[in-house]
Amino acid sequence: MAAPRASTDTSSGAKRAPRTIGWLLLAPLLLWLLAFVVAPTAILFVYSFCQRDELGQVVFSFTGGNYARILDPVYLGIFGRSLWYAALTTALCLVIGYPVGYYIGRSPPARRSLLLLLMMIPFWISFLLRTYAWISLLKGEGLVSSLLQGLHLLAGPLDILYTPTAVVLGLVYTYLPFMILPIFTSAEKLDHSMIEAALDLGAGPVRAFTQVIIPLTKPGIFAGVLLVFVPSIGMFAVTDLMGGAKVPMIGNVIQNQFGQARDWPFGAALGITFLALFAVAFWFLHDRGAEGRR
C-alpha cells in the first residue's frame, strides 16, 4: 500500500531521501554488527542446543542437556564466584579510578593530555607481556618481594603470586583504564559552577561530592562499571597466569570447553547464559540509571 502512494507523492519522496542516506551511512556498521555480533551469537545459540561426538565435533541433534548441566552446583558456584570477583574488581577500580579520572578531567588541557597519554602508554605493550611483567615483579624472588624484605617490611618472601589476591590485582590493573576513561569524560563535562553552587549553598566538600559531583558524573560511573564488570567476569588469562589457574572463573570454564574438553555445545550454553544474565543486568541498571536522570 505504501509503495504506490510514495511513488505518486513527490514531497514524501524528498523526505525519504535523507532516510535512505542515513541507512546507507549506517550500512557498514549494520553489516559489521550482523557479521561479527549477530551471526556468531546466533551460531552460539544453535550450538548450545547441540551435542558433541567422540572427536568433539558439534552434532546437530538437539537437546536441552547443556543448560541442565549449567544448573549443576559446580558450575553455578563458579558463576557465583565469577560475579563476586568481578564485583570486587569493579569496586576497587571505582575507588581507585574515580579520583584519577576526576583529577584528569578537572586538569588544565595541557596536563590533561599528558596524563591521558601516560595512562595509554601501557596499552602499547601486549597484554600478555604486561601480565608476565607482573609475574616477574610479584614472584617470591622478585623485585617487590626483595624490596619489601630489604626495607624489613616483610619477614619472608612475598606470597601474593598465584593467589586470589594476585588475580584481583591483575584484574584491577587490566581494567582500571576502562573505569578511568568514562569517569574522566564525565568529569571533564561537569560544569564547575555546579560545584561552586553546592559549596555556595552550604555543602562542604564531602556533601558537595556526594550530593552533586557523584550524581552528575553518574553516566561515567555507570559506563565504567559496565566496562569493567562485564569483561572481568569473562576474563581467563589473568586467572590462569597470575592466579596459577587454581581458582576457575566462568571464563576459564568456557575456554576449557572450547579447548581441552572440546565440548563446544556446553561452552556455547555457558556463553549464552552469561550473555542473558548480562542483558538482564544491563537492562535493570540502565533502567534505573535513566530513571535517576529523568
Partner: protein, 418 residues
C-alpha cells in the same frame, strides 16, 4: 569615525573616542524646539514602579573590603580595593570583561581567598572562611541549576545543607517559589523549564537561604532583551521588598543604571568611580567612566581664561568652549571635557548662546527611537549628537544639512584636569 576626513593623529583620536555606540534612548530632543535648557528629561529612565535611584538605604555597613588584592600568577585581578557596601543596598560592579569585577564577586562568595587585604561581613573577617560557611549566596551566570534534582529539590538544597527541618523547609520552598512566580512548578525537572524560569529557580534557590548578601553574576545576560528588561525591574522590586543587600555584576551599563543604588565602575582591578547612577552618568570622574557609561564626546584642550563664573577652554582642534569655572581647580592648565551626545541641541537657526558651533551633518544613523548624527564642526572635529527619531517627519535631519550645535555650559563636564 571612518567618515572623518582629517588625517589620523592624536587629535583625531580624541574625537574618535566620541564615537562609541551604546544605546541611550531615554532622551527626547526636538529639532524645532527653541533652545530651552530647562527642557530636558533626566537621562535616567523614569520607571513607574521604580523607587528613585539613591533612595534611602540603611547607613549600616554590611560588607567591607579593606585593601583587597587578588593575584593569579603574574596577573593582578583585583588591586587594593577598598569598598563599603551598606545594608539593604543594591550595589553594582560594572566594567568591561576582564576588569576584575567577577573576581571581586568570587572573593565575596569565598571561591577565592584574597592575596592580601580583608573582607568583613557585618564586621566579621571572613577572608579565609570557605563559601559553605558564609551567609552569602550567589546566582550564577549559568544558573548552575542541578540537573539531577527537581525545581523543589534545587531550592531546598541550601536548606537541607543547613539542616532546616523538613516542615519548615517545605514551607520556605513554597514561599520562595511564589516569590519568583513559579508556584506549581516545583515538581518540574530543570530541562523542562525555559531560560527565564531557570533564572528564577536560581534566584529562589539563593534567596530561600536568606543570605546577608546576595551575589548576582551577570544573571540576566542569557535572556533576550525584552525579558531581560522585565527581569531588571522585577529584580529591583524584589530587592526593595526583601531588603537584602544585592551585589550585582554586569558589563551592561544600561542595566547598571536602571537597577543600582550605587555603581562601582571597575577598571583594571580597581574601582574607577563609586557613586549613584546619576553621579556616575552626569559627573564621570575619569575618561574611562565617561566613555564606558553611556556615550560621550571626549575632548582635550587648554584652559585659556577664567572669569570666576565661566572659563574658556581651547580644544586641541582649535574650537573654544565655555565651561563652568567652578569645575576647574586653580592652577589647572589642561582639561578633558565630556559632552553627552543627547546634550547637544541641533537647530537650523543660530541660537544666541555660548558654545554654539556651526557644522554640517556628515552622517545620519537610524537607531530606532533615536537618530545619531555626526556633525563636523571643525576640519578635525566631529561631534556625535542624539536626537529623537524624526526620520518620517518633514523636519527630519539629512546628511549634508548645515546645522548649529548648542551645548549648555552646565552640560560640559570636566572629567580630568591637570
Amino acid at each position: 569615525m571612518s567618515a572623518d576626513p582629517s588625517p589620523p593623529g592624536a587629535e583625531s583620536a580624541l574625537a574618535a573616542r566620541a564615537a562609541s555606540s551604546k544605546l541611550n534612548p531615554n532622551v527626547q530632543n526636538h529639532p524645532d524646539t527653541q533652545l530651552e535648557w530647562e527642557f530636558r528629561l533626566t537621562p535616567l529612565p523614569a520607571m513607574p514602579a521604580m523607587p528613585a535611584a539613591g533612595a534611602p538605604v540603611s547607613t549600616e555597613t554590611m560588607v567591607e573590603l579593606r585593601g583587597v588584592t587578588k593575584r593569579f600568577a603574574s596577573v593582578t585581578a583585583v588591586d587594593a580595593v577598598d569598598l563599603t557596601i551598606r545594608k539593604g543596598e543594591f550595589l553594582t560592579l560594572l566594567g568591561p570583561s576582564g576588569c576584575g569585577k567577577t573576581t571581586l564577586l568570587r572573593l565575596l562568595a569565598g571561591f577565592e581567598i584574597p592575596t592580601t587585604g580583608q573582607i568583613l561581613i557585618e564586621g566579621q573577617d571572613v577572608s579565609n572562611i570557605p563559601p559553605y560557611r558564609r551567609d552569602v549566596n550567589q546566582v550564577f551566570q549559568s544558573y548552575a541549576i542541578f540537573p539531577h534534582l527537581t525545581v523543589e529539590e534545587n531550592i531546598a538544597f541550601g536548606l537541607k545543607m543547613r539542616h532546616v527541618p523538613l516542615a519548615e523547609r517545605c514551607a520556605r520552598v513554597e514561599e520562595a517559589l511564589a516569590l519568583v512566580s513559579l508556584a506549581g512548578l516545583g515538581k518540574r525537572r530543570p530541562h523542562e523549564l525555559s531560560g527565564g524560569q531557570r533564572q528564577r529557580v536560581a534566584l529562589a534557590r539563593a534567596l530561600v537561604c536568606r543570605p546577608k548578601v546576595l551575589l548576582l553574576d551577570e544573571p540576566l545576560s542569557a535572556l533576550d532583551a525584552k525579558l531581560r528588561h522585565d527581569m531588571q525591574l522585577e529584580l529591583k522590586q524584589l530587592q526593595r521588598q526583601l531588603g537584602i543587600t544585592f551585589v550585582f555584576v554586569t558589563h551592561d551599563q544600561e542595566e547598571a543604571l536602571i537597577m543600582s543604588d550605587r555603581i562601582a565602575v571597575i577598571h583594571r582591578g580597581r574601582i574607577d568611580q563609586l557613586g549613584t547612577a546619576t553621579e556616575i552618568y552626569h559627573a564621570p570622574a575619569s575618561a574611562f567612566t565617561a566613555d564606558f557609561i553611556g556615550e560621550a564626546n571626549l575632548l582635550d584642550g587648554d584652559i585659556v581664561s577664567s572669569n570666576g563664573v565661566t572659563a574658556l577652554v581651547r580644544l586641541d582642534e582649535g574650537v573654544e568652549v565655555t565651561v563652568r569655572a567652578a569645575a576647574l581647580r586653580p592652577g589647572s592648565t589642561r582639561a578633558l571635557l565630556s559632552i553627552r551626545p543627547e546634550k547637544i541641541y541641533i537647530t537650523r537657526t543660530k541660537p544666541a548662546k555660548d558654545n554654539c558651533f556651526k557644522g554640517a551633518i556628515e552622517n545620519e544613523i537610524f537607531r530606532g527611537a533615536m537618530d545619531e548624527l555626526r556633525i563636523r564642526v571643525a576640519h578635525n572635529l566631529q561631534l556625535m549628537a542624539m536626537v529623537a527619531n524624526e526620520s518620517a517627519h518633514e523636519h527630519a535631519w539629512h546628511k549634508g544639512d548645515t546645522v548649529y550645535c548648542a551645548i549648555h555650559t552646565d552640560d560640559i563636564v570636566v572629567v580630568e584636569q591637570k
